[in-house]
C-alpha cells in the first residue's frame, strides 16, 4: 500500500550515540508531522513541515533533536547524544493540505530504546 512508512521500526542505542529516524510520507502530501509517544501516553507533537519548510519546532524537547525535509518529501529526525529519557515511539504523520480538517495519516512508528 501507499501509506506512511518509517524506518527502522526498532532501534536500540547506547546512551550518547546519535540516531537517525526516517519517514516516507504519502506521495504528494504537503504536510508532515513528527510526534513522540512515551509508554502509556498519547503522542506529543514535536515538529511540523509544510513542504521543505519547518514551520513549527516548538515541541522539540532539546537542541539535541533536529529534523529536516530537504526536498519536501522524505523527512529525517535526528537525535544527538541520546539519553534514556529519549526512549519512546516516534511517529510520523502526513496529510494532503496545510490546513486544519485534513486527515493525518500515521506511520507505524520507530521504537527507540536507549540503554
Amino acid at each position: 500500500g501507499a501509506g506512511v512508512s518509517q524506518s527502522p521500526r526498532y532501534k536500540v542505542a547506547k546512551r550518547g550515540q546519535d540516531v537517525a529516524l526516517r519517514c516516507d510520507p504519502i506521495s504528494g502530501h504537503v504536510s508532515l508531522f513528527w510526534y513522540q509517544q512515551a509508554l502509556g501516553q498519547g503522542p506529543e507533537f514535536l515538529t511540523y513541515f509544510q513542504n521543505e519548510a519547518q514551520l513549527d519546532k516548538s515541541g522539540l524537547p532539546s537542541d539535541r533533536f533536529f529534523a529536516e525535509r530537504p526536498e519536501g518529501s522524505v523527512s529525517t529526525l535526528k537525535i544527538q547524544r541520546t539519553q534514556q529519557e529519549d526512549s519512546a515511539v516516534y511517529l510520523c504523520a502526513s496529510k494532503t493540505g496545510g490546513y486544519s480538517y485534513n486527515e493525518q495519516f500515521f506511520g507505524p512508528g520507530t521504537r527507540l530504546t536507549v540503554l
Partner: protein
Amino acid sequence: TQLLKQSPQFLSIQEGENLTVYCNSSSVFSSLQWYRQEPGEGPVLLVTVVTGGEVKKLKRLTFQFGDARKDSSLHITAAQPGDTGLYLCAGEGPSWGKLQFGAGTQVVVTP
C-alpha cells in the same frame, strides 16, 4: 503534559456490553478527533467532530461533541473483541492542524 484528559484510563468488558470513554479539555479546539491505536501501529482516525453539540455515528460507535467544544465522548454499543485497542482523543489547533492528544483509554473486550 496532556491538555486533554481522558477517562477512564483502562476499561475491561465482556463482549456484548456497552462502554463510554470521555475526553475533557479546558481549551477550545478547531476540531476534536478520535483515533484507535493497536500495538505496533500508528493511530487511525475514527471521526472528526467540529460543531458544538454535534453527534456522529459510525456503525456501533457514537461520538458526541459538547456544546462548548471542550469535551467529547465515545460510546460503543455491543462491544466486540475487534474493538480492543487504545482510544485517543486529539484536539486540532488552528492553521496547519497540530494535534494535542490525550493519554488514551485502553479498552479490552473479552469474548
